[in-house]
């Protein structure tokens, strides 16, 4: 953030229940506010699930719209929420296409490994096209104060960040990853618009090195610790005359030792997974921070305060809750994650947030998006 901002009068803005539009002071520090509740969302979630299953998945497109509307509609900036108004039919079309493609992939696996390998290659190569479509669809049907977002990412750049650079990962032993990440975030942020105003992300690859350096160090440490662990366990179990002592000699006597061995393997696997989850949370939180802290929208700025441990706590408790409730805690988990993300994000609004709508918006409003119809499918890529 530049010096001029520090000189301005900065006022902490309390989250209001009603929109306060006309009386914004000079610069507001406006936290994002998430008001969704697990109780309310559980009912929406279970009805979504039930109807989706009962309709063999067709309702799932409508379910997705209702879910997004619930989360957008409960996210408030300055007392005003976001809106999502995509047409579920378009989402359904996209889902059917993806379903057919993945079905073909699954079947090819059993026909011949060559066909399967070729199909995986093809998928890898066409992924950027789907990614651009999905991001554009999502952006265009999201709006704030009746101004739609937009995504103007070019296919060529999508290829660079989703195909070309990732292919270099094995050749550089992973060292290219921070560079790749910077370019992916760059592509993502700089291609998005709010109305006519573009988002501007500006940070060097240098900013990403500490994150991946730390993650790499943690992974090495993890590998070492578990290497020791496993050696100790195997030594112990061999001594007790179990499976490893005489492979192929399985019989009633070795049953107890064998069971212990398998149980230990499961436990080790579980602990390793939980440890890797922390590393993933650490990376995610810090990359998110870099992304928002170095992004501006016109004269407005953002501040993200996620922490690896904060995010990990959410992931971990969510995981155990969902597992021990056979999935019923899923809505609660989703609400918690959304709340954490919103709580950690603040928008620094300089003046007022007055942005013009783009031409695309007028096309959507007027002709019912005839101009966009051909590529207007939503592809759930988890982006």
């Amino acid at each position: 953030m530049d010096e001029t901002r520090e000189e301005m009068i900065v006022v902490e803005h309390e989250p209001n229940q009603e929109a306060v539009i006309s009386e914004l002071p000079v610069t507001s520090v406006v936290p994002l506010e998430f008001r969704g509740t697990a109780g309310e969302y559980f009912k929406i979630w279970i009805v979504n699930l039930c109807l989706s299953i009962a309709t063999l998945g067709i309702y799932s497109a409508w379910a997705k719209v209702r879910t997004k509307r619930y989360f957008y509609g409960n996210t408030f900036l300055n007392g005003v929420s976001f809106d999502y108004d995509a047409d579920p039919v378009k989402i359904l079309k996209g889902r059917i296409i993806i379903g057919i493609l993945f079905g073909a992939l699954a079947i090819s696996q059993h026909i011949s490994l060559t066909v399967y390998g070729v199909m995986i290659g093809v998928f890898f190569l066409i992924f950027p096209w789907f990614a651009v479509r999905a991001l554009a669809f999502n952006a265009r049907y999201s709006s704030y104060r009746n101004v739609r977002f937009d995504f103007k990412g070019r296919l060529s750049e999508a290829y660079k960040v989703f195909v070309a650079l990732p292919l270099a990962i094995p050749f550089t032993l992973g060292l290219i990853y921070p560079y790749l990440k910077k370019h992916q975030v760059d592509f993502f942020m700089n291609s998005h618009r709010y109305g006519v105003r573009p988002f501007k992300f500006d940070a060097d690859t240098k900013a990403f090195w500490p994150i991946y350096g730390a993650a790499w160090a943690m992974s090495i440490g993890l590998a070492v610790v578990f290497g020791i662990f496993i050696t100790v366990i195997i030594a112990g179990l061999s001594a007790s005359g179990g499976l490893l002592a005489n492979i192929g000699d399985a019989g009633p006597d070795t049953f107890a030792a064998d069971s212990l061995l398998f149980a230990s393997i499961w436990v080790i696997y579980g602990i390793m997974y939980l440890a890797m989850l922390f590393i993933a949370a650490y990376i995610k939180a810090n990359v998110t921070n870099i992304m928002w802290n170095n992004t501006r929208l016109g004269q407005h700025g953002f501040e993200s305060r996620q922490t690896g441990s904060g995010l990990y706590k959410i992931y971990l408790t969510n995981l155990f809750a969902v597992v021990f409730t056979a999935g019923l805690a899923m809505p609660w988990a989703m609400i918690r994650l959304a709340k954490y993300k919103a709580d950690c994000l603040t928008v620094w609004i300089l003046g007022d947030l007055d942005v013009k709508a783009s031409k695309t918006q007028q096309e959507i409003g007027a002709a019912g998006d005839a101009a966009l119809d051909l590529g207007d499918f939503d592809f759930d890529l988890g982006l």
Partner: protein, 334 residues
């Protein structure tokens, strides 16, 4: 007359206007508080479907929008003027704890029914719809691979092999469809066992022949394996297990590593159950085939007992791929 506060956005910029929306009894909607007041027929606007207590949008032709948190007022207006707005039914379903718990029960029931009946039924139909030639071609190379990785050449003498082959010919003479072939292999790595490959190859290990007290017992095991081939179990198993993964993805709505990690144990339990069902089916087939061929059914029970005493028996657990051995023995002793 219905009134509520709202923000008005003209759709050309994000500038907001605090307004008051008034809908009179004649169905005319007025927006007060704008530099130029707006008046339209309520029937000419579209209202977003209600979703919990999230903001409600009244959308005008031309892209302008009114946003309000007063959902109840909007609902009253919609009812009063019989204007459609998305699905009131869905919102009602989503606001009702009784409905939610009912939906939970229905969902659980459907998932259970799908796993218990739906998936096996579907897998059976699909597997049997595929032509025999295609099924046989699916595993043509498997025996070669197993020969490289697991088996050794058989050490049984010629006479034993001829006797067993003759018995095998006898059993399979009247059965049409699959081309069945009997193979003998040394199975030091796996002990006494028999396999059926989808392409009709039946493999019997020397150890099984040595363990058996007579030819009839070996043929009994072979009958069971033939059952696997005719009932297309390999293909059905493949389809059933894939379906479970698909179901998990569809229900959770996402393809993440967490879902597959957490779903691993339920997947194993479900797959083991499917496996036990198929093994039971193969047992039933063996029973029929043995009757047809004139083999006394107790031979199957006898060899089961010999095998049980030879291995450790874990067949009573949730994760066991075969039904409990006692049960299987009983069936063939009746």
């Amino acid at each position: 007359m219905i009134e509520f506060n709202a923000q008005y956005y003209d759709g050309l910029s994000s500038k907001a206007h605090q307004v008051r929306v008034v809908i009179d009894d004649a169905g005319i909607l007025k927006i007060e508080g704008l530099p130029e007041p707006i008046e339209v027929s309520f029937k000419d606007v579209s209202v977003s479907a209600r979703l919990g207590n999230t903001a409600r949008f009244v959308k005008f032709a031309g892209g302008a929008k009114c946003e309000t948190l007063d959902n109840d007022a909007v609902d009253r207006a919609l009812r009063g003027h019989a204007v459609a707005s998305g699905s009131r039914l869905v919102h009602w379903l989503e606001s009702n704890w009784g409905v939610a718990l009912g939906a939970l029960a229905v969902t659980a029931l459907i998932i259970w029914a799908a796993l218990e009946w739906g998936v096996p039924w579907g897998a059976r139909k699909v597997a049997h719809a595929i032509p025999v030639e295609v099924v046989q071609s699916l595993s043509a190379k498997t025996l070669d691979y197993l020969d490289e990785a697991v088996f050794e050449p058989t050490t049984l003498d010629e006479e034993t092999r001829q006797r067993l082959s003759a018995g095998f010919e006898n059993m399979t003479r009247y059965r049409k469809g699959f081309q069945l072939n009997l193979h003998f292999r040394g199975g030091e790595k796996i002990g006494p066992n028999a396999f059926a490959l989808p392409d009709g190859s039946i493999v019997v290990t020397d150890e099984l022949v040595e363990l058996a007290a007579n030819d009839e017992q070996v043929l009994a095991v072979i009958a069971h394996e033939i059952g696997h081939v005719y009932a297309r179990h390999a293909l059905r198993s493949l389809l059933e297990n894939s379906a479970f993964g698909l179901l998990l993805t569809a229900v959770t709505g996402e393809v993440s590593s967490t879902v597959s990690a957490v779903g691993a144990l339920p997947a194993m339990i479900v797959q083991a159950k499917y496996s036990r069902d198929l093994e039971s089916e193969a047992d039933a087939f063996a029973l029929t085939l043995m009757n047809e061929t004139g083999l006394a059914r107790h031979h199957f029970a006898d060899i089961m007992e010999l095998l049980r005493d030879d291995h450790q028996d874990h067949s009573d657990s949730l994760l066991s791929s075969h039904p409990p051995t006692e049960e299987r023995i009983q069936r063939f002793r009746q």
